[in-house]
Structures are given as structure tokens and as C-alpha cells.
Point group: C2
Chain length 158, copies 2
């Protein structure tokens, strides 16, 4: 079971459509679930302390969704970059060694709470580029689909 | 004027919707155009020589769309990775020094012809990850929108 835990509701219809499409394609390979936790109101005028508070609150909401058995892969600009094949190998090795519960975590727009970094098992940098958090969900789903086609030696359906 | 020259027609409605959205948002900042050249039929059974032929034909179609005045940024997994701020600075510096015609080139699914690599002024690696070519268009448009909000000190509209 793979769960994707993200902050904020995705409202962009086109992105939702893409996520749905990848969820459907992943079904023969693995069960996935997208869990959205509420985001905090974060106007541009927030002080640094207030920004930390937003991160902390959003972090707590994510932590409450994590199970002890989850192997947590945190999407983090300060993480390690890996390519698509390495990602598929990591998923395969987790499944082989009994970590069948994987949780991918996408933090909120202000960043990631320290407690969440501590709980994570692997910090993954998707790209040097900054993408909107909703688009990151699409990219993650696409990479999961790609990983499972690699693992199952299936052609990638374009 | 920024042109994006890509191989193959994007048929996925949700991706087209996202591209349209970013085109609309870019309008106040810069004129953009998406040019799609025909892709070659490329079944999985192709020999290496045939694959080279596909790349060459697609490459020629792209080259025929490039103007001498174009500063060509080629999306290339063997290129250099830069972050969103560096991309915006590169665009700003090109505009300052009179290279107002920028062409971003996204090759076909089999890769990029050598002639295209030679013509390019900058080879840009978007990510270590492989993404479908149609999704790359969305990512590129999003980064262009992000770049221009950075250059014009405007808030990023999520």
C-alpha cells in the first residue's frame, strides 16, 4: 500500500484529472491513496515565527496520519536526488524486506516541520526546480506509475 | 518572444488544459507559442540504426522551425541542472543583451539528434527523473510562468 500525504486540497481540475489517470493505471500494480490534510492560512505578511507555527501545525496533521509501520519518503528540496530507475529499485527493495507500507509526504508551501524531517526515512529531492505543491502530486504519481512499469517490465503507456 | 518547439501532438486533455492555463498567465509578461512538429512512428522493435533515423528526422523538423536569431535552450537529460531563480536570471540576461527570441526545444521520446545538440546554446536538464514528453511541456510552461513572476516581483498565483 502506498499513501501520499499532502497539505492542502488540490482544486485545479486538470491536475486532479491527471492524478486520477495515474491512480487508475497504478491499480493493477499497487493500491494507492491520496490523503490531503488541511493547510493553514498563510498570507505573505506572516512573521518568521508565524511561518514556523504554520509549518508545525501542518506537520502535526501529517504526523497524525502516519503509521508506525510506514516507511516515510519525504519530498524535500534539501533531500537527495535519485533517478527513475533508482526510485523503482528502492520501492522494490522496500517491498522485498517487508516494508510494504510506504508513505510519500509532500509538505505545505512554507516548508517542512523539523519533526517531520526526523520521522522521515528518506528525504527525496524531486528536482532543483521549485514546483507548485499540487503539480508535485502529479509528478509523484507519474513517477510511481513509471517505477511500477519498470519493476514489472511493462511498456510505459504514454 | 518565447517559442517552445516539441515533437508530437499532445492529446491528453488535462495536460492541454494546464498548458493553456500557463499560456494565459504568461500573456502579461511575454508572448509564447507552442510549436508541435510531427513525430515518427517508433515501435519498440526498432533497431539502433532505425532509432537514430527517427531522431534525425525529428531533429530536422525541429531545426527547420528555428530562426538564426533564436537562442536555443535544449531540454536534455545530459544537460546542466539549474534552479528556478537561475532560469529566471538567464532569461533576464538574454533579454537584456538583445536575445529576445528564445526557443526551448523538447526532443522526441527516443532522444535528441546530434545536429540539434550542436545548434543549441544551452542544454538544460530539468530533473534527474524521466518524465513523459507531454508532461515536460507542462513543467516547462510552469517554470516559465514562475520565472516571469520572479523577474517582475509578482506573487506566484497558485
Amino acid at each position: 500500500m502506498i499513501r501520499i500525504i499532502a497539505v492542502g486540497k488540490c482544486k485545479e481540475k486538470a491536475m486532479l484529472a491527471l492524478i486520477n489517470e495515474y491512480q487508475k493505471r497504478l491499480k493493477p500494480f499497487v493500491k494507492t491513496e491520496l490523503i490531503e490534510v488541511a493547510d493553514e492560512h498563510a498570507p505573505q505578511s506572516l512573521s518568521l515565527a508565524q511561518m514556523e507555527q504554520v509549518k508545525q501545525k501542518e506537520g502535526e496533521r501529517i504526523l497524525s496520519k502516519l503509521k508506525d509501520s510506514d516507511y516515510v519518503i519525504l519530498l524535500d528540496l534539501a533531500g537527495k536526488m535519485i533517478d527513475s530507475v533508482a526510485l523503482s529499485e528502492q520501492i522494490a527493495s522496500l517491498q522485498t524486506y517487508g516494508n510494504s507500507d510506504i508513505a510519500f509526504v509532500i509538505g505545505g508551501s512554507l516548508g517542512i516541520a523539523p519533526a517531520l524531517i526526523q520521522r522521515s526515512d528518506f528525504r527525496w529531492k524531486l528536482s532543483d526546480l521549485t514546483f507548485p505543491h499540487q503539480l508535485v502530486r502529479v509528478l509523484l504519481y507519474e513517477q510511481l506509475y513509471r517505477s511500477f512499469t519498470i519493476l514489472h517490465h511493462q511498456p510505459y503507456h504514454k
